[in-house]
Symmetry: C2
Subunit: 213 residues, 2 copies
Amino acid sequence: MKVKVVTQILEANDRIAEENRKLFDKSGVYVINIMSAPGAGKTSLIEKTIKETAKIKIGVIEGDIAGSDDAKRIKSLGIPVVQINTGGACHLDANMIREVIEDFPLKGLDLLIIENVGNLVCPAEFKVGEDIKVMLLSITEGDDKPLKYPLMFQESSALVLNKIDLLPYTNADVGKIKKNSLSLNPKLKIFEVSCKTGEGISKWVKWLQSLIK
Amino acid sequence: MKVKVVTQILEANDRIAEENRKLFDKSGVYVINIMSAPGAGKTSLIEKTIKETAKIKIGVIEGDIAGSDDAKRIKSLGIPVVQINTGGACHLDANMIREVIEDFPLKGLDLLIIENVGNLVCPAEFKVGEDIKVMLLSITEGDDKPLKYPLMFQESSALVLNKIDLLPYTNADVGKIKKNSLSLNPKLKIFEVSCKTGEGISKWVKWLQSLIK
C-alpha cells in the first residue's frame, strides 16, 4: 500500500514536470536543477555564475524549508528571483515549481536556475521540468559520498566539486571521488571549483554557456 | 489524502518506536540517534567516542542508503555493529531498527549509538526508540543552517559542531550558529569539537557519560 501511494505521487509529479518543461521550452529558457547536501555551496555557485555571465539573462528559483536568505543574496545581484518555502518537505516537486512560474518573467530569460532544498537524497527522485540536473559536492563532505548516495550521482549531468581551496586541510581524495562518481555515471561532467577563490569557475561557466543554444 | 497517509505512517512508526524503547529500557541500554547532513562526521564522532570511553560498552547501528564502509570502520574497533541499507530511503525508521535489534547483543551494552542516514531534514521526523537525538553540524556547512533546517535543531538534545579545526579557513560565524540554534531550542547543549585533532571530544564524552545511569 505504501509503495503504491508513492508510485502515484511520483507519476503525478512527472506529469506536472512534463507540463513545466513544455512551458520552459515554449519560453525558450534552459533550466537547470541544482542539488546538494546542505552547505555545499549551491547559492555561492549561483552567485559566481551570475557574475561571470553578464550576457546571459538568468532567473533563479530558491527552494528552502524555511527562510529567504538565499533569495535575498540573489536579489541583491539584480536578478529575478522567487523563494519557495517547502514548510518541512525535503525537496522541491513539480507542483511547487508550477505554482511559482505562472507569475515569473520566463520569456525574458536564457537560463533559469532552480536551487533545490539542501539534501543529497530526496531531490534526486523528483523531476521539476528541468533540462538537466547538476549536483554539488563539497570536498569537506569526504570522498565516500558517491557510493553512499548513488542516485544523485546517477541522475546528474554534471558534478561540481566545490571548496577545493580547503583540500590541503582535509583527507579527501579527489581521485577517489571522480573514479567512484564515473563508475556510477560514466557520462558525468566533473568540475573542480572554489566559489571562495573563483578557481575553476570559468570552466564551469563555459560549459554551461555551451548548453544554452 | 496525501497528508492523511503521511500521518498514518508517522503514527505507525511512533508505535513501533515505543516498543523499541521498551526493549532498550528492559535491556538497560541508553540509546542515542545521531543525525546530520552527509559528511558532517557522524562516523568519526562515533569512532572518537568509542576510543575515549573504554569502560562503557558500546554497540552501533549504522544507517546508509547503500554500502557498508561505516560499519567496517566501527567493526575494526572491536565493537558490535550492524549495517542497515535503506535502499533509497532518506532516513531510518522504527521498523528498520526493530528488525536488526532482535539479533543484536543489547543486554551486554551500556550505550547503543544509532547513526542515521546523512540528511539534515527527514531523520528528524522519525523516532526510532532512542532516549535522545544528537545532531552534528560541520562548520564548513555555513552558519545559516539553523534557520534553514529548524526541525532537526528543535528535536535534538545536543548539537556537536564539528571540524572546528577548519574555522580559520571558512567564513562561518560560530556565535551566529549558537545564537540561532538556541533561539530554536533553548535547552540545546552545544559542543565544539574537531574529530580530526581531538579538540573538544573529552567534554562531549563527559556529558554523554553523565547520561548513562
